[in-house]
């Protein structure tokens, strides 16, 4: 853990070498979800609600998904760009070091400016929490925290699958984007509005609905069954097959030799 903070401080120092450039990049990152949110705003200027969800409820939903995503992107960026690591042979260097390879990939890359998205998410979350009539209790506070953390774990799982696939394809696969960037963008609305098919997929295959739609219903008081609080925890089981797949990939790794 100490070593991780060592790496973190190196990455911070690296980013601070070019302060103006860093701030501009962070601002640019902030604008990506901001324009996406403007889209939501414009829709709700015309429509009072969508499938029973109000503007503030959708904002809360988006803020939670976005915060999870940006935390995952910040800490797991090494996996998100793993195709490059394989391509330039840097993974060979990782394998010969006396540390766990997941740990080293995590440390290899932290693009701090990416957290511009997280800043946007935090502002949106604060605004939504102030304006959303939530009947607060300890269980609902826990639900909110679990939703955010569960989301981070799920995004991390998808990154692991992406990286694992890179062992076989050597190139990044664009369609995985639909599970990361796609969830970031389309997760702005509760998943139920996309219909049964999408909701089923996001419940049983990649369990995003367990950290978004179902606990959200409890959080905003559609029902009072506090067991919903545990759904994001259950969703975290998803990371196990992802990790096994990654391990499987590592065993089959052949250096590109470059």
């Amino acid at each position: 853990m100490k070593l991780y903070f060592e790496f973190l401080s190196i990455h911070i120092k690296k980013a601070m070498q070019y302060k103006a450039s860093f701030l501009l990049s962070a601002l640019a990152q902030l604008f990506i979800p901001l324009t996406c949110f403007w889209g939501v705003q414009f829709m709700f200027m015309r429509f009072k609600q969508v499938d029973g969800f109000t503007y503030t409820e959708v904002s809360l939903c988006y803020a939670i998904v976005l915060l999870s995503f940006s935390l995952a992107e910040l800490f797991f960026r090494g996996f998100d760009t793993f195709d490059r690591m394989i391509g330039n042979g840097e993974f060979d260097r990782v394998l010969v070091r006396p540390r766990n390879e997941v740990f080293l990939v995590l440390c290899s890359r932290m693009d701090l400016e990416r957290f511009g998205k997280g800043i946007m998410a935090i502002f949106l979350l604060i605004w939504a929490l102030q304006n959303c009539p939530i009947d607060w209790c300890a269980a609902r506070v826990m639900t909110l925290i679990f939703m955010i953390l569960g989301g981070v774990v799920l995004f991390a799982g998808v990154y692991l699958i992406f990286a694992g696939l890179c062992f076989f394809t050597l190139e990044g696969l664009e369609f995985i984007n639909i599970l990361t960037d796609g969830m970031r963008e389309h997760g702005r609305y509760p998943l139920s509005i996309y219909g049964k098919g999408v909701l089923t997929f996001c419940t049983y295959i990649v369990p995003y609905a367990l950290v978004q739609y179902y606990p959200l219903m409890y959080l905003i008081g559609r029902h009072n069954d506090a067991r919903a609080m545990l759904l994001p925890v259950i969703a975290c089981v998803f990371i196990i097959p992802c990790y096994l797949f990654w391990k499987f990939g590592v065993r089959h790794y052949r250096s590109t030799g470059s």
Binding site: S21, L27, F31, T35, G39, F47, E174, H186
Partner: protein
Amino acid sequence: MKLKKYISFFRLRCVTGLQYRAAALAGISTQFAWGFLIIFAYHAFYRSDPTAFPMTLQATVNYTWIQQAFLAMFASWVLDGDILEEITSGSISYSLCRPVDLYAMWYTKSLSGRISKVALRAVPILVVAALLPAGYNLTAPTDLPTFFLFLLTMVLGALNSTAFTLLIYVLTMYTLSSTGLRSLLLTLADFLCGGVVPLPFFPPALRRICELTPFAATSNVPYRVYSGDIAGTNAAFAVGLQIFWLLVLVLGGHTLMKNALKRVVIQGG
């Protein structure tokens, strides 16, 4: 004769682009999933309040599919890595030695790069989208004139979009490395041309302003002409505006580039 060298640049780029068939397939499946999610969301809003829709649901669905099919043509963030590399690495000096107009060469490069990407992706997306169940499918334009108007505005839109990208490259010549500023501008441009939600969904006042900007002269016009959302005198006005912005962007970009080249500093050896 003079045009011939640009045509060969164009062909060279297209052939290179066509090599990446697997990437195109992956792109197509992503764009399908993306398109479906957008359309499902519009359906949900439509169920909630059909009267609040600023364009017909079918026009919105068509807009979405055409947008997905031609994404590589209009997506503002699709920049040519080679050109950016040329500027920052200094190999631009080689290009300057060539007996070609740098603006025209880059323009041809960018345009052909996009066309080759779209050539692989557009047709499969459009065909499958047309075969989907009613309500989710791409429908044909109402009549032949609309279709030809769509083609015309599409060409003008693509030319405009490329001219805008050229401006971004020229900007890079001035600032060298400003990935942040660049991606900020591109994100905004994408929003203003209706990349996140179509312009009719904008608040009325903002929509009227946006429709006059060069951003709206790119993908916004053809996508909406297709379903008849822009027709008659509005269409004539939109085409006029497209031509106007094309002239401004190309002439402006060309002049700015000339200016930048006057004080060109080649980085490194």
